[in-house]
């Protein structure tokens, strides 16, 4: 394994962890917006309770991704931030408003109207952010961001790569996946039966939406992202990989249906991991399809080696801390719900 490939792998792993953690936090915002029925307020409370201690830690994965990208693959970073200036700025506004509104809601007056207002901001921002992230991912895949390899100058414009059906389909797909993850996690965050039913119904709905949007994206990819479409439909690893992903998705649906929530959560995690990895593999070795690759964007090996060491040392403190955080705030909820009849 060369340092370049290792760091590409680290980047992909960080994206998976970001999707599994922060993705679900964004999904929480969706369900806050759609909270309805007799248990509406209790749903909001359960979501806030689930997010409170962990959303800031989950968010840091994004920062790590950005930093690794500009340190290890600076040409890819410069190209993405130039070509996708508009969707990235919208995403940033979403990130700012989401985090701020969530915190403000916790500490503002105990007045239903005030809380409702922050809830609304929090929820809408939670929708904008994953959609825009998905749009950026779609644009990176689309092959419409062009760079002259000799001069590293971008030759495409600032709009056409992302303002197209395919990136937006990917954006909606990302939103559906986030919502699915969130609802599935939330079934284990409460001991209230009625709430759990409500989240189960939402998880099932989101799973179906995600399935439909996956197909729509795939169909749109024919024109919208031909290289990826070709990769997914012709490479040797692709078919078994897709079949596995599909089976896992169906398994998650079945587990939810049968109210086997712990299993459903495990399968949902597996499904999202497979989807993110599938995205990574389908564009491998390109970082920005088609011109920028791991090889031509990578920083010198001396830097990459040093960064790998830094990551190894950081991981030694990071993972135990993260484990402790999750054990403190998440293990309890799961145990309670498992012992419940």
């Amino acid at each position: 394994m060369t340092p370049q490939l290792l760091l590409g792998g680290v980047l992909l792993a960080a994206m998976v962890l970001y999707a599994l953690g922060a993705g679900a936090d964004f999904g929480g915002g969706v369900w806050d917006l759609l909270a309805a029925g007799r248990s509406g307020e209790r749903q909001r409370a359960a979501i806030a309770h689930a997010l409170g201690p962990i959303w800031e830690a989950n968010h840091v994965w994004l920062i790590l991704i950005v930093v690794l990208l500009f340190v290890c693959f600076p040409l890819a970073f410069a190209t993405i931030t130039t070509a996708l200036h508009v969707p990235l700025t919208l995403m940033l506004i979403g990130i700012v408003l989401r985090g701020a509104a969530f915190t403000f809601r916790t500490y503002d007056r105990d007045d239903v109207r005030v809380k409702r207002r922050w809830s609304r901001v929090f929820a809408i921002a939670s929708i904008i952010t994953p959609v825009m992230l998905g749009v950026c991912a779609g644009a990176v895949l689309s092959g419409r961001i062009r760079v002259d390899p000799a001069t590293s100058v971008m030759t495409s414009d600032f709009v056409t790569p992302w303002l197209a059906p395919f990136p937006f389909a990917v954006g909606l797909f990302a939103l559906a996946l986030c919502s699915f993850l969130a609802a599935t996690y939330l079934t284990l965050e409460t001991t209230d039966r009625e709430l759990r039913r409500a989240f189960r119904a939402r998880a099932l709905g989101a799973a179906i939406a995600a399935g439909v949007l996956a197909w729509v994206s795939f169909l749109l990819a024919r024109h919208g992202a031909p290289a990826m479409h070709h990769g997914l439909s012709s490479r040797a690893w692709s078919l078994p990989f897709q079949v596995t992903t599909g089976l896992v998705a169906l398994g998650a649906l079945a587990a939810l249906w049968q109210e086997r929530y712990v299993l459903a959560r495990a399968l949902a995690i597996a499904q999202v991991t497979l989807v993110v990895c599938g995205w990574g593999f389908s564009q491998f070795p390109a970082l920005v399809v088609p011109d920028i690759t791991i090889a031509n964007a990578a920083a010198p090996d001396s830097v990459l080696r040093a960064i790998l060491w830094a990551l190894a040392c950081g991981a030694v403190v990071l993972f135990p801390s993260l484990w402790w955080l999750y054990r403190l705030f998440k293990a309890g909820a799961a145990r309670e719900s498992r012992t419940e009849p």
């Binding site: 968010h59 840091v60 600076p74 410069a78 190209t79 600032f158 001396s302 830097v303 960064i307 950081g314």
Partner: protein
């Protein structure tokens, strides 16, 4: 407005906003840890209430700091892609290490806020210590990255590319130590003064309140330690600027011509047309002595470089004067407080002294903003001193004025909300019975 100007203003607005929350992220955890320690030691409920109030303030500030920092990480590419394309790998080490410091901070602040009844008291306190240390360390790393822009090191340029990159040499560049020291003290000093002002203001209206007295005692103590240190560290910084960035030093001192026995100018307004600095109080030979240790040493002026290589002198000079004046004023207030405390063997709470503290309370944050203006504007026209010009770094994306306006409006709104919430959560006097009892004791 040119795109370059819009991009610079966009960066300046984002940083000027972020730095306030960053300073709080460095210093507030220290205040909480001290207060919680006193609660564990004395079991006086006033300290518990104080810890919880400061914690609520920290939680709000931290969240806004985290999201505004995220904006900055992206803006490095959104605004300066041609800079990041070659500089990213060189300054990547501090940014990567900083990522882990952020992780620790975010993880342990979650545990600290929500874990009061889930972990043992001592463990809870230790979680606070981790936040305080990692907050300080994140500041250190990012300032190392900034120092590299002032004194680039650890690489060689060949054909527009950085080669022979040594990440640790870049991180530990010649200006890193001085800037880190100065910024870290600045954060504690500025937040101590801001908090002191709040509690002093409350004490003027509610003199007996034990809650605000204890709070004031803690923050005035920190301020009295930091204020003199900051003066020394500022002197160390100025010397290093004199050696490594003589043009910047000339700009911040308003020194137009190279001369022997250069005077130290206090105040004064640089006139860019006649190339003189007027209305300043001049102390003969003092500047040469401060920088070179010799009253007659030659000090380089702005005339050493062509006009195109000079920073905007007026802004740099005035910002520098503002920083030094704020620092001196804070020093006077802090030393006076220490003196009164020592004389009367009791916290100085006379109305006039509290009024003085209230007046001085914004000065630390003012000095931080001014200091960064000195550093950044004084480095112009370079983004990386002597190596890359800011205008060569800017994004080709047109219309940067739009995100500038959007970000500025968004931040203005957030600033308003944060202030309102802080007033409600932190400033208000608790009507606690314990606070009253404590006052009588």
């Amino acid at each position: 407005m040119t795109n370059l100007l819009a991009a610079r203003l966009d960066m300046a607005v984002s940083l000027a906003f972020h730095i306030v929350f960053a300073a709080a992220g460095i210093a507030m955890p220290l205040l909480m840890v001290v207060s919680e320690w006193l609660w564990l030691r004395t079991r006086d409920p006033v300290y518990l209430e104080l810890t919880k109030r400061w914690l609520r303030g920290t939680a709000i500030l931290f969240a806004v700091g985290a999201v505004s920092g995220t904006v900055l990480s992206f803006e490095l590419g959104l605004l300066w892609p041609r800079f990041m394309r070659w500089a990213g790998p060189v300054i990547g080490m501090p940014f990567s290490l900083e990522g882990f410091a952020f992780f620790l901070e975010a993880i342990f602040i979650g545990i600290y806020i929500y874990g009061w009844d889930r972990v043992r008291p001592l463990t809870h306190w230790l979680a606070g210590v981790v936040i305080a240390v990692s907050g300080c360390v994140s500041g250190i790393f990012v300032v190392c990255a900034n120092a590299w822009m002032n004194t680039p090191a650890g690489f060689r340029m060949a054909g527009g590319e950085a080669v022979d990159i040594r990440p640790f040499a870049a991180m530990l560049n010649p200006a890193a130590f001085q800037q880190v020291l100065h910024m870290t003290i600045a954060a504690y000093l500025a937040i101590a003064f801001a908090a002191a002002g709040i509690h002093a203001w409350a004490l003027r209206r509610d003199p007996g309140n034990a809650f605000h007295r204890r709070a004031l005692a803690i923050v005035l103590g920190i301020a009295a330690v930091c204020a003199p240190l900051q003066l020394v560290s500022g002197d160390v910084s100025a010397r290093q600027v004199g050696h490594a960035q003589p043009v910047k030093l000339a700009a911040l001192e308003g020194q137009w011509r190279t001369e022997r026995g250069a005077p130290l100018r206090i105040g004064g307004i640089p006139d860019e047309r006649t190339e003189t600095t007027r209305h300043a109080i001049e102390i003969p030979g003092m500047l040469s002595w401060l920088v070179h240790g010799d009253r007659n040493a030659e000090l380089k002026g702005l005339d050493q470089v062509p006009h195109a290589d000079r920073p905007p002198v007026t802004i740099t000079h005035l910002a520098f004067q503002l920083m030094v004046a704020s620092g001196t004023a804070m020093l006077v207030v802090a030393l006076l407080g220490a003196f009164l405390w020592w004389r009367r063997r009791a916290l100085p709470v006379s109305r006039w002294y509290l009024g003085l503290v209230v007046l001085a309370s914004p000065l630390g944050l003012v000095a931080i903003e001014a200091g960064w203006t000195v550093t950044e504007v004084g480095r112009q026209p370079w983004i990386v001193y002597g190596i890359m010009r800011t205008r060569d770094a800017v994004t080709p994306m047109p219309g940067i004025a739009v995100p500038l306006v959007v970000i500025a409006a968004l931040y203005l709104l957030l600033a308003g909300v944060v202030l309102t919430l802080l007033r409600r959560q932190v400033f208000a006097s608790p009507g606690m019975a314990a606070a009253r009892r404590g006052a009588r004791r």
